[in-house]
Symmetry: C2
Subunit: 433 residues, 2 copies
Amino acid sequence: MEIVLLSGGSGKRLWPLSNDNRSKQFLKVLKHNNEYESMVQRVYRQINETLKDVNITISTSISQKAILEKQLNNNVDIVCEPSRRNTFPAILLAAAHLYLNKNVDLNDTITILPIDSYVENTYFENLLKMDEIIKNNKANICLLGIKPTYPSEKYGYIIKKNKIEFKEKPNKELASEYINQGALWNGGVFCLKLSYLIDYLKKYIEFNNFEDVINNFDKLEKTSFDYAVLEKESSIDVIEYNGCWKDLGTWNTLTEEIEDKIGKVITSEDCINTSVVNELNIPVVALGLKDIVVATSPDGILVSNKEKSSYLNNYLDQVTDRIKYEERIWGKYVVLEETDKKLVKTLYIDKGKNISYQKHTYRDEVWTVVSGKGLFVLDNEIKDVKENDVLFIPKGTKHAIKAITDLELVEVQLGKNFVEDDIERYEYNWDEI
Amino acid sequence: MEIVLLSGGSGKRLWPLSNDNRSKQFLKVLKHNNEYESMVQRVYRQINETLKDVNITISTSISQKAILEKQLNNNVDIVCEPSRRNTFPAILLAAAHLYLNKNVDLNDTITILPIDSYVENTYFENLLKMDEIIKNNKANICLLGIKPTYPSEKYGYIIKKNKIEFKEKPNKELASEYINQGALWNGGVFCLKLSYLIDYLKKYIEFNNFEDVINNFDKLEKTSFDYAVLEKESSIDVIEYNGCWKDLGTWNTLTEEIEDKIGKVITSEDCINTSVVNELNIPVVALGLKDIVVATSPDGILVSNKEKSSYLNNYLDQVTDRIKYEERIWGKYVVLEETDKKLVKTLYIDKGKNISYQKHTYRDEVWTVVSGKGLFVLDNEIKDVKENDVLFIPKGTKHAIKAITDLELVEVQLGKNFVEDDIERYEYNWDEI
């Protein structure tokens, strides 16, 4: 069985924990066996717990590759879109990858699902039933419908009459009516044959190999799979899932599933329905609060009535600060302080990884090695560095560092224009050393 | 006219803005002519606006001297207690200072008042009336009584019957009764002759000069002036002040007088009776809050129901982090990050000031000069330093720096034991250079 997990784009609905570079599915806030796991880790674990002999491919963008590998311990197959173009192109690209790179049989079934649904294990058991339906040619596409628990205005509805009908985000009255007719929420899970997707792909792109598909990726309409495929298909079946299903995409929904206190948090006994997630290294004291979420990260601090937190996006245009925390392919960094004269960061470089060979025009940099061993290059001169070494990098000099063991550096940028743009990148061949 | 302002000790009732080293009276949160001023600055300004030809002396501890000079532009007379021993010793020491150091006539009147009352200018005009009463020998002590606005259980009451009676913190019923009898709140303002205080002082200490008083300061009872003097005196008069009087000592009272948003703050339109004071350099977003105070500083984050904020002290025992922001005699510092392997600070050293010559046993330090010019000493070798210089200070080496112009440094401590204790101080004679 082939599973394709769609790992969607970034967003700020869980700001300040999520930002343009850090998607909500990677936040480690869900507790399992006394450790925190992310939504990605939870879904991946649940699939492996419930389905045997399953191949998992994750469809995402290059910006998420490193963190996916880190969170899933590298043993995962990832297909990266050259650009973000909605679910229709993403799913066809994943199909091309399975067909052309992994030689999956055109007759095999593929099940596509979002990576960020918060569900019970029985959700995944239903995928087996969907697989049976497609395998036995009982429908061209099989969907997973979620039994509604209330007349939500946020979701799409699947109505199973003579033919399947789809209704997007109805008002409350209509939603109630649909539910009375037995409608289900559309959970964004599709099961179908690989051939079905490859036939679609051929309509848009002529290809002999995967590279042809990548190079012509922008020929695929920037639209959703629901709109481009589902609504035009008449042979659809639906399997019903009757269990917990949440998208945890807002603070209001997320805080229902996480612990009330995460991080350095002190609360008074009279706090009611209040959640504090503190990613900063300073304490949060919360007194006498009701229905409040507090979330902190190096990017900022949110204090919101839980219900009102869904309006967060409307206010984030006013936040124009640079991102203070970022996970990169080589590790991660945190901005400790930025003023007009300096920018102070801690850099964590993973063993074996390196920062690209680069130079800056407007700023000097001072690197203090806090721990670990590495190789430091300054204008093609290479030297070993270790904890307590201090490296001065004048503006205009090319420099890079490679971690021999996990490396921690404090970087002080001095000068002006503390922007990621003040960087010119060069090739450096670490293997020649 | 001689005014003595009592600048009291530190406390955490306005945590995280106030801490053991930063008293509430120095927080610049009160707006005046589009600039922020502290309680100290406000009272000092108001006295100078309302009273002409007045000499002001501030009685405080050495730890507050630098910040008082900074906030009041150096032109203020300060008398420092050798140790903190309550208002009775503090007031007698101030009297000794006026008599022995400033040659104030024993027959002159002294008016003593707290530095942190939030009042209108008319409050100070009453001091002239009190001065008249003492000058004309109509009473030995004249007090300022504040017209009560509600039956508070927190204050002391002055009841003017045949003789003056004092009642401390009555319950609500008693307080109402007192108010019906015309009682006033005791505002902690005393007017009397210098001779009165010096006579008291002579009962405890034999002195020929001010140093004798300092050296015998611990012979003065550790008690309040109210208890030691006022309650034993029968010749007392009271002047009534009928106007705004607040102690601004809790978030609930302080937020009534300050702007709703101070610092980088974004709030939704539906926030009601909500105040956000953000001293951090990252944004606070507040959505849909009612009756809430949010306060942030490098020391921590408070989110509290306003009324419940008076219980803050009960929870701060759980905050065991080191202080992250401190104003020192040479300037100030902010801790940017502390982990078990490093501590990163920004140091701001005022022009002409220096850090003491010192060495550390357990940590190396790296100083990066962000801006300014200074003199750096390392094991008795002195050199000029300026912006972009990087100074490595190995453990065990003596070092100091003096600011020629205002200096900003980033300090990275490496090693272990990042405590203020890991320091041995030495003499260094900067004048010999």
